[in-house]
């Protein structure tokens, strides 16, 4: 600094300035490229790590076989049930969570008196911030015992049912419902609030009630925002691991409500610690399957958002 100040030549001074400017611009550009590099290398690594097992065990043996016995004498690596569990579990969580979420968004955006909204709003934000392991802990301590009691009643006479102690698909789905609620609520609410006021006024002007206006005018107008809320909810549910890893049970089964099940995520979490060789490679293949699902969901989301730039 002292040097430049002593330096009386305006030209030299502006040269250093220009140099600093260029360096600053280069540094900022490099920072921006990090995200591109990260996505690129994550994609590359997921494929590099996930595909060898397909070559070694066979794509059909992994994707379309249902027996998961990686540590057996003659190991079998079929992940069909695991994939189905993730799809059905996510679908169920979204089917339950989205109506509750959208209605809560309606409540916050339209129905609630100001004071009540000012109380509910922060509660939703808090719900979003609670670490997923805590949901898992509460799932084990509250949901699983409840489910076990239900199980004992429903399957009292069944001889074939394997009792799970309550760690089953329903428990996991309920945990997922709670976890996707904040996402669905926040995005639906902001898209509902972005609906032009004219539409609402026109509807009232025609004599429609508030409920008619909400369900016939505002929700249809906010459709693309609500759809992206649903898609984000799907992404969140299918990618959640720690909250459901202990709640969903510990064996791979067909995803029936009272079966102990493994999701794509929970299979990785619970077995990566001790897996070796082919088993480990197949776990990476499971990761790849999950990654492909997420990428499909992301692409879908960008398509939706592009289709409706007005509420993006």
């Amino acid at each position: 600094m002292m040097n430049t100040r002593k330096n009386t030549s305006i030209i030299r001074n502006s040269q250093t300035k220009a140099l600093v400017e260029t360096i600053a611009q280069i540094i900022f550009t490099v920072c921006a490229v990090v995200a591109v590099l990260a996505v690129f290398s994550i994609t590359l690594y997921m494929f590099l790590q996930g595909t060898p097992a397909f070559a070694q065990v066979g794509i059909r043996e992994i994707l379309f076989h249902s027996v998961w016995a990686p540590t057996a004498q003659t190991p079998s690596y079929g992940i069909l049930y695991i994939i189905l569990t993730s799809i059905i579990g996510t679908a169920a969580a979204v089917l339950i969570g989205v109506p509750i979420g959208v209605l809560t968004a309606v409540f916050l955006a339209e129905v609630a008196p100001r004071k009540l909204a000012a109380f509910v709003r922060p509660a939703i934000d808090l719900l979003a911030g609670i670490p997923s392991v805590i949901y898992g802990l509460l799932g084990i301590m509250i949901l699983n015992p409840l489910m076990y009691r239900l199980e004992q009643i429903i399957f009292a006479d069944s001889e074939t049912h394997q009792f799970t102690g309550g760690a089953n698909l329903i428990s996991a789905v309920l945990v997922l419902v709670i976890m996707i609620l904040p996402t669905v609520i926040n995005i639906s609410q902001s898209s509902l609030q972005a609906v032009q006021k004219d539409l609402k006024d026109a509807s009232y002007g025609l004599g429609a009630s508030q409920i008619q206006t909400i369900f016939r005018v505002q929700i249809p107008a906010a459709k693309s925002g609500i759809i992206s809320a649903v898609v984000l909810g799907v992404g969140r549910a299918i990618g959640e691991a720690m909250a459901i890893s202990l709640v969903s049970g510990s064996s791979v089964n067909f995803p029936l409500p009272f079966n102990s099940v493994r999701f794509l995520t929970t299979a990785i979490v619970s077995e990566m610690g001790y897996a070796a060789d082919t088993h480990r490679m197949v776990l990476f293949s499971i990761g790849l399957v999950l990654f492909v699902f997420i990428m499909l969901i992301n692409t879908l989301l960008t398509k939706i958002l592009k289709g409706a730039p007005q509420d993006a």
């Binding site: 600093v20 400017e21 600053a24 900022f28 550009t29 490099v30 920072c31 921006a32 490229v33 990090v34 995200a35 591109v36 990260a38 996505v39 290398s41 994550i42 690594y45 997921m46 509750i100 979420g101 209605l103 809560t104 409540f107 916050l108 129905v111 109380f119 509910v120 509660a123 939703i124 934000d125 911030g129 609670i130 670490p131 997923s132 392991v133 805590i134 949901y135 802990l137 509460l138 084990i140 301590m141 609620l181 009630s209 508030q210 409920i211 984000l232 992404g235 969140r236 990618g239 691991a241 720690m242 202990l246 995520t265 979490v269 990566m272 610690g273 990476f284 990761g287 999950l290 990654f291």
Partner: protein
């Protein structure tokens, strides 16, 4: 009121809809109250001075999460030291330097993708890339670098939003009196955008504190306290489990008292973070109105 126009006919469908709307909102609130109440009720008994200031040791006969608290702090600090400059820099590039085009779309698209990738995938990637390829193994550094990628979009997006709210007159004013662009960014833009940037950073801290799946296979589960000054730096190359990891491990071992103790500590932190972001958002709003 004789006129029937004034008296609205109550529609049954409307009534039912209101009931469902109120019910949905009530469910969300009740779940939250239930969670906080239950965790407090079960966890408060585990919290004492030893629990917060000692590491669990069979020899000393202590049960505590001090090691995990330290690990969490390490990971927060290292992650932010790497992620904050990159995230802010990226936002400055997008908002101040880049001209709309393919390159910007690519960066914004990948940032969006990055925020949609689930943490377990980050965990797998971090384990293989930072852990194996870069030979960092199970260490606090591996965990922090993995989380860097995860929170990058959060910081970038918040900074970008904040930069967008800085009036253009600030920019032209500074440039007009002869400031260089970098000088303008450093002395005008970044300070004006500071509340927004801070909000991003605090939200990032919340994500880091609550994260578990991305850390399980990258930072590992160590819980030993650093003892000497030299440990202080070498610790980042050793395995270190955060509070959430310890919570998960305690829970899978059936040590529910410890698990609820940690859960309570985490909840208090989450509450604190929530209030901090609310406060900042409030402050930010006021500056926007001026």
């Amino acid at each position: 009121m004789p006129s029937s126009l004034q008296r609205k006919k109550p529609r049954i469908a409307d009534r039912v809809a209101y009931v469902f709307i109120y019910l949905s909102a009530a469910i969300s609130v009740l779940i939250l109250i239930g969670i906080i109440g239950y965790v407090f009720f079960r966890g408060v008994g585990s919290i004492n001075l030893e629990f917060l200031t000692k590491a669990t040791s069979a020899r000393a006969g202590t049960t505590g999460i001090a090691g995990n608290i330290i690990n969490t702090l390490y990971i927060i600090v290292i992650t932010l030291m790497v992620a904050a400059p990159i995230g802010i820099g990226s936002a400055v590039f997008l908002n101040e330097y880049a001209k709309p085009g393919k390159f910007v779309r690519l960066i914004e698209f990948t940032t969006e993708i990055l925020s949609g990738i689930p943490s377990i995938i980050f965990g797998l990637f971090g384990m293989v890339f930072f852990g194996t390829t870069l030979r960092l193994g199970y260490s606090i550094l591996t965990g922090a670098l993995t989380l860097t990628l995860m929170i990058l979009p959060l910081i970038t997006r918040n900074t970008q939003e904040a930069l967008k709210t800085v009036p253009n007159s600030y920019r032209s004013g500074a440039l007009g009196i002869g400031a260089t662009k970098w000088y303008m960014i450093r002395t005008i833009l970044l300070p004006s955008a500071m509340p927004g940037i801070l909000t991003g950073v605090i939200l990032a801290i919340g994500r880091i504190v609550g994260e578990s799946a991305a850390l399980l296979f990258t930072a590992g589960s160590g819980y030993i306290l650093p003892k000497t000054a030299s440990d202080f730096f070498s610790k980042i190359f050793e395995s270190g489990g955060t509070m959430t990891i310890q919570l998960y491990l305690s829970m899978s071992k059936g040590q529910y008292d410890i698990a609820f103790g940690i859960a309570l500590v985490l909840l208090v932190i989450v509450l604190g973070i929530n209030f901090a972001t609310k406060y900042l958002a409030h402050k930010f709003d006021l500056t926007k109105k001026k």
